[in-house]
């Protein structure tokens, strides 16, 4: 969690990036704004009574106790300049960093979906229901999904047999996972669709036999056929109710159980990717080299005790887990989803404070949504948030595969870290460098360690150096304090757009 602001009044005036954020505006019940210290949710007058009823309910207490729901308290008007007399605002703790579904691995999608279904089931048993069910209502606190939208709850008609958020759950949770499994559509593609995939889109893309897969028959085939224009008229505004509340609850619980089965059915077999077995198969690393590297990293972590670490190119997470062991909150970033899946699975099982993001630092996730202001870009969310950044065996990827000049890489590192940068230099003589050089010796074959130091000198001072037996060099750089503090992104922890 971020450090509190010393002057709460600043929370309204601090911009993010070049724009003021567009906070949530679709839900008629309320709006959200984020400050460095907390999330503030304004409840509109028409929704105040229902919100207070939910806050007083045993369901809310139970969900908060289990950690499935973000804690809420009534915000104190004296602490926040934005609260006008007579307004109801809720205050929630911040979950850092904001992660969007298009940056999650498939197991994270399933974990978020199962969380939503678990909460929906408990709500039904308690006389409540979820009025919406989208992955954008979930954030990851470390490796654990948490529902962050308390306005999703509303009283349930005891006789209703319809879960009105069912359609949204299917479109936004289930069908992207179905498309990934059966059509190899990447989950990252959901960046471009606000409300998921329509059944008809998936139906047309599936082959004739897959349309009759028992797991897809209702949510894809029947939904597509019954949902075509002209098939439903006024009936689409009506839903079935049972005369018996016990039967209605039974029907709803059966529906939740089926969705859970369908979500679990989207698991694929063991995946391999270009990088998922890199740690085990790295032939250019002798055991002694790997030991020396780990010792250097561990020492830096133990000595400087960073509270927040960004691991760029985290792969399966050897160094992310090491940072977590040193009590740091870690953001592990990698473009290889399969490698990151392995890390998330371990982090989730061990309840480590590691948030995994599928992203390429050279082509970071762009801002998205309405006017490009609803969802922040990756760099807006990460800049200046970390005490230490790890870039272990990443720089040569950026040079050779992304064709980035060293000076640009140094500038990016200076943007991300507030204090330390731990970097591994891979020289042109290294087999991995040679593999990607591909005849471009004139452009890159001459690069030396001195070139690296020269490029980083405007932003960093090298405070430690360790050359491994395989020729790679580990550096610990300290960031030179930025005198222009007004332009320092670390100071600009103001209002941000939310994921909900």
């Amino acid at each position: 969690m971020s450090a509190p602001l010393e002057h709460p009044d600043l929370e309204l005036s601090l911009p993010v990036g070049n724009h003021d954020p567009q906070l949530t505006f679709r839900d008629p019940a309320g709006q959200l704004r984020l400050t460095a210290r907390c999330a503030l949710r304004r409840i509109h007058p028409a929704a105040e009574k229902a919100t207070l009823e939910f806050l007083a309910s045993p369901l809310r207490a139970s969900l908060e106790k289990s950690g499935d729901l973000i804690p809420s308290k009534i915000a104190n008007a004296a602490e926040h300049a934005c609260i006008a007399p007579g307004e109801l605002w809720l205050e929630h703790p911040r979950v850092e960093p904001i992660s969007y579904p298009w940056e999650w691995t498939a197991p994270q999608w399933r974990a978020a979906a199962e969380l939503t279904l678990r909460i929906a089931s408990e709500a039904i048993s308690s006389g409540w229901t979820l009025k919406d069910a989208t992955p954008l209502n979930v954030l990851f606190a470390g490796a654990r999904p948490v529902l962050v939208d308390v306005l999703s709850f509303e009283r349930r008609d005891p006789c209703s047999t319809v879960w009105l958020a069912y359609g949204q759950f299917v479109r936004t949770f289930l069908l992207p996972l179905v498309a990934r499994k059966h059509l190899s559509w990447p989950l990252q593609g959901t960046l471009f669709v606000r409300d998921g995939y329509e059944p008809d889109l998936i139906y047309k893309a599936l082959g004739p036999w897959k349309r009759f897969n028992p797991d897809l028959l209702d949510v894809v085939t029947l939904a597509a056929l019954l949902g075509r224009p002209g098939k439903t008229g006024r009936g689409s505004q009506k839903h079935l109710s049972a005369s018996n509340p016990e039967l209605a609850a039974h029907i709803l619980q059966k529906r939740i159980a089926r969705l859970g089965k369908q979500i679990r059915g989207t698991e694929k077999g063991q995946n391999r990717s270009e990088w998922s077995e890199y740690t085990q198969s790295a032939a250019h690393y002798q055991a002694a080299d790997a030991r020396d590297k780990q010792k250097f990293v561990r020492n830096a972590l133990q000595l400087h005790r960073p509270s927040r670490v960004l691991d760029i190119g985290a792969n399966t997470g050897t160094y992310s887990l090491m940072a977590a062991e040193a009590d740091a909150e870690v953001v592990a970033l990698d473009a290889d989803e399969t490698a990151l899946e392995a890390l998330w699975t371990v982090a989730s099982r061990r309840e480590e404070p590691i948030t995994t993001l599928v992203a390429n630092i050279a082509r970071p996730t762009p801002a998205a949504g309405w006017k490009n202001l609803e969802h922040l870009s990756l760099l807006d969310r990460l800049s200046g948030r970390f005490d230490m950044v790890l870039m272990l065996a990443v720089v040569h990827h950026l040079i050779l595969r992304e064709q980035l000049p060293l000076a640009h890489i140094a500038e990016l590192c200076a943007l991300l870290t507030r204090r330390w940068l731990l970097l591994e230099w891979v020289p042109p003589s290294d087999p991995m460098f040679q593999e990607w050089l591909r005849g471009r010796d004139d452009l890159y074959g001459h690069l030396t360690e001195e070139d690296l130091q020269t490029a980083f000198a405007p932003f960093f001072t090298a405070v430690d150096r360790n050359e491994l037996a395989n020729g790679r060099v580990l550096f610990l750089f300290a960031r030179i304090p930025n005198d222009q503090s007004a332009a320092d992104p670390a100071e600009n922890e103001g209002v941000e757009a939310s994921s909900t």
Binding site: D27, P28, K131, D132, A133, T134, D157, C159, S160, T161, V162, W163, L164, A165, Y166, G167, Q168, V170, R171, D195, E198, P199, D200, P208, R211, F212, L217, D218, V219, T221, L222, A223, A224, L225, L226, G227, R228, K231, T232, G235, S236, Q237, K238, H239, L240, S241, A242, S243, L247, H250, I251, K254, R255, R258
Partner: protein, 91 residues
């Protein structure tokens, strides 16, 4: 001439229609006021699913009640037998 997919589509539509009609005997309609878009096809799928589950629920109850009736019929005889034992103790 219909293709196999065409036949399956017609069969599925008939199946859904039968479910909705049979379910209508157990369920009734109300207006839906949604915040999230419930979808037209997915709402119809819920209606069909509700009918299916409701049919099973009523059938199961009917079967249970049949067993309960037969048990209830047995019980007076059993009590009578027990009563006769009591009677034999106190002639």
């Amino acid at each position: 001439m219909e293709s196999p997919t065409g036949y399956m589509t017609i069969l599925l539509r008939i199946f859904a229609l039968v479910l909705i009609i049979s379910g209508a005997a157990l369920l009734f309609e109300r207006m839906a006021y949604a915040y999230a878009d419930p979808g037209t096809g997915l709402l119809a799928v819920q209606a069909a699913g509700s009918a299916l589950v409701a049919t099973g629920w009523y059938l199961r109850r009917k079967i249970y009640s049949l067993f309960r009736q037969s048990t209830a019929k047995d019980e007076p005889e059993k009590l009578l037998d027990e009563g006769s034992v009591e009677d034999s103790r106190h002639p």
